[in-house]
Symmetry: C2
Subunit: 393 residues, 2 copies
């Protein structure tokens, strides 16, 4: 098993987490927030380093309380104690979960009662792209037990922090991209006419692991004459056929960080229409790369790509945006679209993902990953070939 690049260190030094915590605390102080109660995997991992695939199990809730001053408090099921004890968190409170009649609730009430008595503001994630990962009934019981708490939305704080990556985070994403790129380089060996898409996906998953991926939480794509019907399908049993356009969209993880990019191939031969669509998408991505710099807005990046696609006089496909943030999750804030005026900052990691309707129910999409440097975009993925690659059988 060959790693495609120098393998970064796993994990983070403790000062990474204390710095993240301090930044959150500064922002909380600025808006008179007494603390944040976090329930979701990326947020708890972001501030603690608590890293486990056990979030697959929906049974147990997990909590992190981040006070405006002082140390974070983890309130977690006993099953997580050994893993949490390996992090920098010292105040860990636990209960023998599952215990549906009191799954952490009395511990939370005890912890938050002083805030409620002073009618302080408690931040909870309530905004776009977030959810509350605890039973809604328990959340309602918590609020009923602490009527003094004033719940406010902590999304702007967490969003601002997580959108801008640290060098160590960027290194992990870059490594995930490098692993993905080295797997894509071998795809032409597997993508032969007659191979069912399901088998191709499975072979490709194995190849990404062989190249060093920890796991492959996301692999979607499609194939069809002149384009594919959508970009989120699991693979069908349909065999690849001459004239198909094949696209695989890969979200592998390394040390908890994703890449998210795709590659297109023509099987056997490429029709002119497909070549033109590919070229348009490639040039739209170029325009997106050129537009990416600190101070630009997401809307400007969107418009730069959209201007190229407008040549075709066709729609955007059905994706709803032309790129997004990337990191601990496959997709993160912000969105490259008309309605998002987020200002691009140095060390954001973004996907540029122009898509195009090819007429009928077919579409094409291209996606690259970039990090924002002081003067502009730096590609984390090797740039896709400028002309639609043809795999000859």
């Amino acid at each position: 098993m060959t790693a495609p690049s120098k393998v970064p260190e796993r994990g983070f030094p403790p000062n990474e987490f204390t710095a993240r915590t301090r930044r959150a605390q500064d922002r909380m102080a600025a808006c008179d927030m007494a603390g944040m109660l976090l329930t979701t995997e990326p947020e708890i991992r972001y501030f603690t380093g608590f890293h486990t695939g056990f979030w697959q199990s929906p049974t147990r809730p997990w909590f992190l309380f981040l006070p405006v001053e002082g140390e974070p408090v983890a309130v977690i099921p006993e099953i997580g104690l050994p893993v949490m004890r390996r992090t920098w968190i010292e105040d860990i409170r636990s209960w023998p979960a599952p215990r549906p009649e009191d799954d952490g609730l009395s511990l939370l009430i005890e912890l938050l009662a002083p805030l409620a008595r002073k009618r302080r503001r408690l931040g909870v994630l309530k905004g776009p792209e977030t959810h509350l990962r605890m039973p809604l009934g328990d959340y309602e019981r918590l609020l009923a037990a602490l009527p003094g708490l004033r719940i406010v939305d902590a999304t702007p704080i967490v969003r601002a922090l997580r959108m801008v990556k640290t060098p160590a985070e960027i290194e992990k994403i870059a490594h995930a991209c490098a692993i993905g790129a080295s797997a894509f380089a071998r795809l032409p060996e597997f993508a032969r006419p007659g191979v069912p898409l399901e088998d191709l996906f499975r072979t490709f998953r194995r190849e990404t692991l062989a190249r060093g991926a920890d796991e492959v939480p996301y692999l979607a794509g499609g194939a069809g004459p002149g384009g594919y019907e959508d970009v989120i399908s699991p693979p069908s049993r349909r065999p690849l056929a001459q004239g198909d356009i094949l696209m695989l969209d890969l979200g592998l993880r390394w040390d908890g960080y994703f890449c998210d990019f795709d590659r297109n191939f023509a099987i056997g031969r490429a029709e002119d229409a497909a070549r033109r669509a590919y070229d348009l998408l490639w040039r739209a991505t170029e325009a997106g790369i050129a537009a990416t710099r600190p101070g630009a807005t997401c809307r400007e990046l969107y418009r730069a790509m959209r201007a190229v696609l407008a040549e075709a006089g066709e729609g955007d496909g059905n994706i709803g945006r032309l790129g997004h943030g990337l990191g601990m999750q496959l997709t993160e804030w912000p969105s490259l679209m008309e309605g998002d005026d987020t200002v691009i900052e140095e060390n954001m990691v973004l996907t540029l993902e122009p898509s195009l309707s090819c007429g009928g129910n077919r579409m094409m999409v291209q996606e690259e990953n970039v990090v924002v440097g002081p003067r502009g975009a730096r590609l984390l993925t090797p740039r896709a070939a400028p002309e639609l690659p043809v795999i000859r059988g």
Copy 2:
């Protein structure tokens, strides 16, 4: 790539979904519920067949409204239209997501306004092991816009339905188990002293894919002298060593259904204490299998296993229960524990998962998967070896 057993059909015939919907509607009618609003992946897939890995992206909310009479209504982002149109759902309403200022909200308000006007009861999942997968702020805006709606907890209805599997579901879980078993059969070839656990995990993931898994969302485990510290860790770089007890806990998916079982191995040699712990766990599982039959309670299954473990005079480890339901999720209701008096029914699929503290900070666990037949448990996993297997270097 060799499949370990006859590969079942993918997907379900439409009458599977209409039957599930009818059962839910019967239960809703019995408690005067006008409908259910569902937001989570397993529930939406359960009633529609909508199957995509795109739920990895937290950006877009997805909704299914299941009325007490008539057809379900999907309210989904445009990006999901092609996949949803391939299901049996005919009433599909969509919007160009992401649109943070109105991510499906006005569509939901329009759909639910007639219920609100009549002050009807709307079911939402609020109970244990559930969460609301939409921004909490949007949920609050929905309720504020429709003050007539009376929100009630739909968890008991969904729980009762999903806990009892259909024959087609059982077939998929059985196939996932068979794939996992065939991968475990090869583990002794890879698990050699000196191999870093991280590399072993990666090789094992590749093997499960080679044997036919679609994906491996969960793989945890550990290794150490006389036991491991916990059961939810990602792998470390520590090389396997003579005298280690190695455990891998595998949650692979086939066609959206999980297996969840583990295997233990001693590396090079097994100490007497580890052999005794393994034997105790093996006999506890036997007792669990023997106790499993329609009409028994989860508490009884727990106690049957616990009685064997009590011989050791040691604690349960830190898992909190000795088994659980299994299906579209790695863990599902019910829990085999003292506090769960759920009555076992035919066609439930369960894990039996006794765990044992081995003293110090070490533990051991064993896990098998069973389906409940008319007279008792039928194993879906080949029974683990009765004595701790030793891999000799």
